[in-house]
Symmetry: C2
Subunit: 407 residues, 2 copies
């Protein structure tokens, strides 16, 4: 059973007053929404080239499609790609990219600070104590250098499998095996928290079984403060359906923490066979988007977002790809085709985010007390009164805002 | 790769001295093993009737077969059967049964103090706080009333699934859901430890996935002292094989705690289909033992015990049934047929436990220093010198024991 979306909305009362503070009845004001409080995220990987004036997948047209729907961009901090040569991190390019997104009103998230895959080769063979020291230093470096620009991080990724991961040699699995899962998590959160006390720090996993529950319970018992629980939902093998998804979300909602659906993908082509366990094991020469697949994807996307936005614990949904060009696993999970045209799923999501759940510019007239009540999805708004704009917020609690009428 | 069994053996040096303390060279002594230090366990459920002079499955013949191989009996403390009427626990019958086993040189284990199945009906519908208080009181009662007779307990059973168990209404699942898994474990261990500080207390589970690892790591981080980790291995769907079993054992061995294979079963008939997830869901009108099945079971049992006794972390293997009569799920998992005749698996296990890994009565002659060195599996032994018996132990460390020669 799905919930409604009343919990997503709030009311702000605007009182229009003149220069003496007296209410102005019968005044026309125009209100409109500027930004959702809810995080509608997507990966920003495709725009690193564009932001830095280099060749890349993203162009201005794709950027416009992105910015029209998404308000948070996940940037890649895979250690092995971010610092392929020890001591030469890719900080400048990522900072430029982050700033490029912020200039478009899009907030940032970094992914991930600790993970056992996409590791730098130069870590291999180092003693465990040195690996730990380097890992700690790398967390502090990235989180402090990006503080104020990126204030949300996947502090550590896929810890359930981390100490028993056997699909590639890396320096983190032996460390996790020696130290234990909870000490690894404590390390990641301690270092990131110290480097940016204002950051929102996530534990993130694809394993949504009882194992993740047990891990979270152990972490909470150990007194590590999680700001949100990250739940990956790559659905290359087909949408799980509303009931299964909500039952999963309910299992993790009982910890009373915000839930972030951190990695969502739904294909617009053939489904990956169900027997594949590690999605990375499925390699196909070509995986086209199809008309039937695109119709199914649009339907899946709409049901997925509707049901999750309606769940009170969910605060973020991050889709895992804007375009099919260069998509993960070559899968047609993008919302935009490789040729730059939007798929039906893009249109469906835009319709929800920017129409059904959005307040378009609306003219209202103040009552005898000089007031209008603006009800809408929580987020940032503006009101225009005789050509002068005032920003206001719709939040959890009903709020009053005074707006000056410049006569 | 399997280990050898050298780590299971030790040496005790016996020095035969006369009444003045002088060594007696050239004296004939007879040594023999009395008991294994390793726990070769089995369930003792079938002998409650016999021990109490009531009708039941077990008879003296079955009891002899049992006592010839097994040195630890697991007794049932399922709350719903132990105390079907509130305030009327089955303490006396179980105490009588426990004493009956001890009279035969068999130690006891109680199973389990906390579990979400086989619950008393009278718990249903009570407020959570009352359920918790009753659960705590029941742990204290059983552990203290049986202290000195039963000093090993499955303190809590199947916690991984406990808060999300949905295969039967019970009062413990809601409690576990409200309190969390680790607080449930802490409750069980705290109460049992307080009631019997000398008890060996186990966490026990059938879920041997990463979920159990995560749970154990959380429990250890939370400072709850586990004395041993219990691993269930009901193999109605077929023996997992040595490699899979040892890889599983290795995953749990890294916590540095003793491992108990608490519930082992291997069928001597058709295998349960692999698609069954909850073994309890497989109900068949008849599940016969077959000659081929019995040969396979004997081979499985031998490989299972050989590989696990060879693993340094394993301290106990408990088989889950002596006879097919009234066996769990009607499955032919017994080591003795319903007609009382031993299956090949019984003979195979007896040969290991009482022949290959056992020191039968052996006459030795003291050297010029009046000494003989006795090497064997750790456990309890006796030496007979001119008709007088002296007990001694072979333990981890080499030991010296003086034996008086009564001239």
């Amino acid at each position: 059973m799905t919930h409604g979306t009343d919990h997503r909305t709030g009311t702000t009362t605007l009182t229009v007053v003149d220069g003496d503070g007296a209410p102005v009845p019968g005044a026309d004001v125009t209100v409109e929404q500027i930004r959702h409080a809810f995080s509608f995220g997507n990966i920003g990987f495709d725009f690193i080239g564009l932001a830095n004036g280099e060749p890349g997948v993203g162009d201005d047209h794709l950027a416009d499609l992105y910015a029209d729907v998404f308000n948070v961009a996940t940037l890649p901090f895979y250690w092995g790609r971010f610092e392929p040569e020890r001591g030469h991190p890719d900080t400048d390019r990522l900072l430029t990219t982050a700033q490029w997104f912020r200039d478009r009103g899009i907030a940032l998230k970094g992914h991930p600070l600790v993970w056992h895959t996409v590791q730098p080769d130069w870590l291999l063979g180092l003693p465990l104590d040195e690996v730990e020291a380097l890992q700690r230093a790398r967390i502090r470096r990235e989180v402090s250098e990006f503080a104020g620009v990126i204030d949300t991080w996947d502090a550590i990724n896929e810890v359930v499998i981390m100490p028993v991961f056997d699909n590639g040699d890396n320096a983190i699995t032996p460390l996790a095996r020696a130290r234990g899962r909870i000490p690894m998590i404590r390390m990641a959160f301690e270092e990131a928290r110290a480097a940016n006390p204002h950051a929102t720090l996530l534990l993130n996993d694809f394993d949504l079984s009882s194992a993740y529950e047990c891990l979270i319970e152990g972490v909470l018992e150990a007194g590590v403060q999680l700001d949100a629980i990250g739940l990956q939902t790559h659905m290359h093998q087909g949408y799980w359906g509303v009931d299964t998804m909500l039952a999963m979300v309910d299992r993790f909602a009982r910890y009373g923490l915000p839930l972030h659906l951190t990695e969502t993908s739904l294909v617009s082509g053939d489904l990956m066979p169900a027997h594949i366990v590690d999605l990375n094991d499925h390699q196909v020469p070509s995986w086209p988007s199809t008309p039937e697949g695109e119709a199914r994807q649009a339907d899946d996307v709409e049901r997925h977002y509707r049901s999750l936005v309606a769940h009170p614990s969910v605060e973020a949904i991050t889709y895992w790809g804007i375009t099919d060009a260069d998509a993960w696993l070559g899968a047609p999970i993008g919302l935009v085709r490789a040729d730059g045209t939007p798929k039906p799923a893009y249109d469906a999501l835009r319709r929800l985010v920017k129409e059904e759940w959005w307040l378009a510019p609306t003219t209202m007239r103040t009552d005898e007390r000089g007031q209008v009540q603006v009800r809408g999805f929580r987020g940032e708004y503006r009101v225009d009164v005789r050509g002068a704009a005032t920003a206001f917020t719709i939040g959890d609690a009903d709020t009053d805002v005074r707006v000056i009428w410049r006569g």
